[in-house]
């Protein structure tokens, strides 16, 4: 396993605070969504990333606008970090006309080409060949952009992920494969869906490196991603980064998650990426109470504004059910 140099890619104090802002914004967004589901204001398709935010922030932080992301269903935060406003994302969850898909679907089933965001179908793994296709165009053009392709440890068992990794490896395409290993695939623990511990081990079979890292450590994720990106930009091809993590909520907001123990959940909550990072920032004297309050206030205001925007947005016109089928 290539070692991760924790301090290779330097971050300014400002950048570190920005990371904290994103962690908090994404957490707050998902927490609010969870409430909105219970209130019946958002109907379904809500897959909380609470507990996994460090992966989203660590992988997206510092991406160029032209870099592409191909997120999985739980990665709503990646859309925010790539430039979609919280209001538009909230409207998307509300299926309002102002959402990305104009109400055609919720969740992350829509994309924004200008921002380098691919919106997948529901079909797990199906985003990875698309990621390879995007990366192929960068290679053809000799651009130094990269594509980040996300999938769960469960989705890693789909044929699409295999076909995509093999193709990307063969042509040394600039893709970073990010496996979010949160122990469960819906109700199924990893040991019931594969005989290995580290999905990262599969990379070798495609001719590139795989690393398994602490997915709850935003800096570790950032360092690993930046390393992989640097290699990809240099023409050295893909890397598979497996981020070990855990989701706090059920698979979706409708899942009571009886299949796991309270102890397991508690253990992982003790590894919450947010306080870990906050403590680190305080210890490095990057963060103080004023700054923290500033960030928290900003986050609260943005989420409130997003909900207001979504609530106030119109529903799509019924006739839009049959438009945009063809260009």
């Amino acid at each position: 396993m290539p070692s991760i140099k924790r301090h290779k890619f330097k971050l300014t104090d400002e950048q570190l605070l920005e990371m904290l802002y994103w962690l908090k914004l994404i957490r707050a967004f998902d927490e609010r969504l969870s409430i909105l589901v219970r209130q019946g204001r958002v109907r379904s398709g809500v897959y909380s990333s609470i507990g996994q935010e460090a992966i989203v922030v660590g992988t997206c932080f510092g991406l160029h606008k032209e870099d592409y992301i191909c997120p999985l269903h739980r990665d709503l935060g990646t859309f925010l970090m790539k430039g979609v406003s919280p209001g538009v994302m909230m409207a998307q969850m509300y299926a309002k006309a102002t959402g990305l898909s104009k109400g055609r679907d919720s969740a992350l089933h829509s994309g924004v080409s200008e921002l380098g965001i691919f919106g997948n179908t529901s079909m797990l793994g199906a985003n990875t060949p698309v990621a390879a296709g995007l990366a192929l165009t960068y290679k053809l053009e000799g651009r130094d952009n990269v594509v980040i392709a996300y999938f769960g440890e469960g989705a890693s068992n789909t044929g699409d992920v295999h076909e995509a990794m093999n193709f990307a490896g063969t042509h040394k395409l600039p893709v970073v494969f990010v496996c979010e290993n949160n122990v469960y695939s819906y109700s199924v623990p990893i040991e019931k869906s594969m005989a290995i511990e580290d999905v990262a081990d599969r990379a070798e079979g495609y001719g590139f490196d795989g690393v398994a890292i602490n997915g709850n450590d935003v800096l570790a994720v950032y360092q690993a991603t930046q390393g992989a990106i640097a290699r990809a930009r240099a023409g050295d091809g893909p890397t598979l980064i497996e981020c070990k993590t855990y989701r706090w909520h059920g698979h979706s907001e409708h899942d009571p998650a009886f299949y796991r123990t309270d102890e397991e959940l508690a253990m992982w909550k003790s590894r919450d990426p947010l306080p870990t990072f906050t403590t680190y920032l305080r210890s490095r004297e990057v963060l103080d109470d004023t700054k923290l309050l500033e960030i928290e206030t900003r986050v609260r205001q943005e989420i409130d504004a997003a909900v207001t925007f979504a609530e106030d947005s119109p529903h799509p016109e019924p006739g839009e059910a049959v438009t945009d089928l063809y260009a």
């Binding site: 379904s44 109400g103 055609r104 679907d105 789909t158 019931k192």
Partner: protein, 326 residues
Amino acid sequence: MREIIYLEAIREALREEMARDPKVFVLGEDVGAYGGAFGITKGLQEEFGEYRSLDMPISESCIIGVSVGASLRGYRPVAEMQFGDFITCGFDQIVNQAATLRYRYGGRASCPIVVRAPVGGNVAGGLYHSQNPESWFVHRPGLKVVAPSTAWDAKGLLKAAIRDDNPVIYLEHKYLYRRAKGPVPEGDEIVPIGKAAVRREGGQVTLVTYGAMVIASLEAADRLAKEGVDVEVIDLRTLSPWDKEAVFASLEKTNRLLVVHEDVKTLGLGAEISAVVMEERFESLDAPVMRVTYPDAHCPFSAVLEQHNLPNADKIVEAVQALARY
């Protein structure tokens, strides 16, 4: 007779068949301890063991291929797709592997698998949790396709599907899981594959439908009855092979036929029924066969959009009125 919901009827059929025949087993994503995304297989793993209600990795092609392999050794696997929409990920194993097996083996083997697929909309599912995939499979020789609309049929057709020696696609409509409640016989009542049911008798217009649209159709028929239009509602139950005789028999009375389905219009099942009726009963038609269907569009998530697309009693009433007037 006791009444149970559609969802429980499916589970009961699985349990009884698994108890009756040790070769019957269930496999799919989360079907083990969790009992499946909709709770259909709840309790089966506890009762029958890990391998008879087997959690599979996310790999629909493998789930169906594994089923085919087991069926070649005399097993009767029941594969669950978590949502019918994902059946596209196992498409090749169904239409090429399973559907052609008996034919390419020169009739010397068969492939008794069931693929259960939760289908249909009106459940806030959106583009990839609402689809109606029946046409793809009705079009393919070597497969059978069933689509129960009542709890009774959900049980009886699943039993028939499991005992059938051919690959059967079993389409269970999510909208009906808890809404279709009714009498269901305990034990071994089989609903034969290939036989439609007349849900309401009538003499003026024949309405052929299946799945969740049976509910909307019966509602429409009730309303039409008040206007004095007397509709016969036929629930196909089996889509391949569909019950031509039942449709023709009703048509002989009414000379007017409407097909209603939730699937999109173009090359939905209504097209085939219309074409066959034209070919074989042209002289019986006092009016053209008409269709009330989903438009040729995807299944949007927004309720406003989805209701625009879904067929419903209003649209059916209007179509029947036009037919009756014709």
